[in-house]
Amino acid sequence: MTPALLLHHQYLPGVCVLALAGELDRTNSGELTAYLKRVRRPGDHVVADLADLSFMDSSGLHILLDCHRTCLAEGASLHLAATYGVPVRVLEVTGVAEYLPGHATVQEAIAAVLRRP
């Protein structure tokens, strides 16, 4: 039984807002990779809303960093929103948090992304 990972997205002009819910681990991280590839339009900024993500492992970190690099290469950026609990723990202990800007809410993340286009 693979833990449930629920993925949703919403488009704003130049921004793909991605909501992750459930538990993200090695058994379902491929779903996130495929989803990102499918829904992110070239050049889009990405805001990843982690509010309902109760677990994230190192494979999740790798996907976020890959996404970050893809964004940078296209002049865009990846911002995280509502990070707490296990995801923030994993982001923190590895130092990855320092590479990925974090915001209290999705609204603030979107505002930050749109301020520096």
Partner: protein, 155 residues
Amino acid sequence: MNTEFELRCPIGPDLGYIRDLVRIHGQHHGLTGERLDDLAIAVNEAVTNVFDHGGRAGLITARDHEHGVTVEILDAGGGLTPEHLAAAIVDPAGNHGFGLWIIQHLCDEVAVEQTGLGSPLSLHMSGRPATVVLLDRSARHTRRDLRRAVSDPTS
């Protein structure tokens, strides 16, 4: 009847089940909050490695101590060495290497043996607050609290 353990389960691909068992074990033996999260995160990384790099089978054994718990992940493959542990680095620019780093930075004690039966990785977790451990051990990174940072992005 050997009952020198508190909990034992074979390593299987249902990582969520293993995390839940480990959480119940830790919780009933005095771990709370972040310490409980840390144990679940560390065991999850170790078991993931058994599938990614090891024998894809093995045994998880949890024991309790006066101030905390020890979870042993026995990889039937037997390929994990102390050198792997020592070589663990974090390279946010690269593509690998987070698992063993995370394990060693979240647990109080980490040790690997090599036996005829496989490579048992022991993760020990005490009940004391995790922040102490982090401040202690992770001088390499700025330990700013992301939760503080996210509520004030300018800080």
